[in-house]
Symmetry: C2
Subunit: 220 residues, 2 copies
DNA sequence: ATTAATACAGGACAGATGTCTCGGAGGAAA
DNA sequence: TTTCCTCCGAGACATCTGTCCTGTATTAAT
């Protein structure tokens, strides 16, 4: 386990005797890091990569809750409210995750106030952003949410400004709408010269306009 | 300070030397317990009464986030993300609140892992419910949200089941819509015999129907 | 090559919701 | 009492968004 990497991300150093109990696991894109309904077995710390959090609705559709980069902790809600995993965490890039098994937390870290401060900071941050996005989601029309989605998935690894559309259906359920409506908005943007559609991809021609439409809403 | 009351609500006992530093403050209905933009000065523990959490939008409207009863903690987000108060907490009933001044937390409780566990549990619980309501809010039409609002504010203290009409504007912004649309829905419900409007009040005639419409959504 | 199956964009329509506006009720001032 | 002002409910209209459906293109099977 790379101590100094963890230290640089989370500003916390494990005592020597714990490092052997900690697990570092890689995840491939589209692989579930946590799956809703599972029993939680530890506290997960993202070391590298990006993942998305989504939840399954009664309708069977999924709704995007957020994208996460490090520092980001998984499993804390479940452990402290003592419930099954509530949301799916799915890697969207190759990820590395440090897992602290639940027993290790219970026996060694529960009484470590520095470690608890780390968890408190992260939970408070997640709650803060959830509060913000809750309002935004309730008050933003679909075109704003779609623009926000496109701006959110734009990342340094997307060097070209193409976004695969082989999953328009996914995008639709992720932002809580239908593919029909996405198409309507994309057509409108195409006519306005903000994007162009070719084959199975969307090219964003006017990023500044796109950012303007998104009204600074982001899913992160 | 009533030790045993706090113990029974939060399952935590303060050490003797702290009780003199803790403050218990009463709040009247409509009084701000915390006001967005203020500097936070401590951790607030609700002992009795109910308050609502709302946030101010760029538009100047406010949006209802939730109603809270004990056990409920305020100020934790702000302290751990080190930011100004993000949401208004407004008493809706006479409330009693125990305030732990920030210095007291910093010097005595920050290193108290039992106390930190209490905070972690509460934050995780808030995040869990925020996650759930975020989805629900995004996907529920206004009639469901209005019914949910009415079901939420129904409490033992509201012996009469009347809602003042002069606050329809407030209700509208609280659930993120307009008074016009509220009126439309109320008219529909009146025609269906679910409610009746008289003078400046609304009487709910058919609570079971109202609960059915609300689809179990609640602002708490 | 022809046919069948699938997927996808978009037309048509309906329902939900916001904005603008007006007419009536009630209260305050003259 | 008359006039004026304010507030409220609701009509009219526009926009947003979901559902249903169709025509076309692409792919798969024969």
């Amino acid at each position: 386990m790379n101590q100094s990497l963890f230290k640089s991300i989370y500003d916390y150093t494990f005592t020597q005797d714990l490092t052997s109990s900690l697990i570092v696991r890689p995840f491939q894109p589209n692989e579930y890091i946590l799956k809703a309904g599972d029993q939680i077995d530890g506290i997960y710390f993202l070391l590298s990569g990006r993942y998305m959090v989504s939840s399954l609705e009664v309708t069977g559709k999924e709704l995007l809750l957020r994208y996460c980069q490090q520092p980001s902790i998984m499993g804390d809600i479940e452990i402290f409210t003592d419930c099954l995993v509530v949301s799916n965490c799915i890697a969207v890039e190759p990820c590395e995750v440090l897992i602290i098994p639940l027993e290790v937390y219970e026996t060694h870290l529960k009484i470590d106030s520095k470690f608890n401060q780390l968890l408190l900071k992260e939970l408070a941050y997640k709650l803060l952003t959830c509060t913000i996005s809750s309002r935004v989601n309730a008050l933003s029309p679909v075109n704003v949410r779609l623009a926000a989605y496109l701006c959110t998935v734009e990342s340094p690894t997307h060097v070209n400004q193409y976004i695969k559309t082989n999953s328009l259906d996914d995008v639709a359920s992720l932002i809580g709408t239908t593919k029909r409506h996405i198409n309507r908005i994309l057509k409108d943007w195409t006519e306005k010269g903000i994007i162009s559609r070719e084959d199975d991809a969307i090219e964003i021609l006017d990023w500044s306009k796109m950012k303007e439409i998104s009204e600074n809403v982001r899913f992160e």
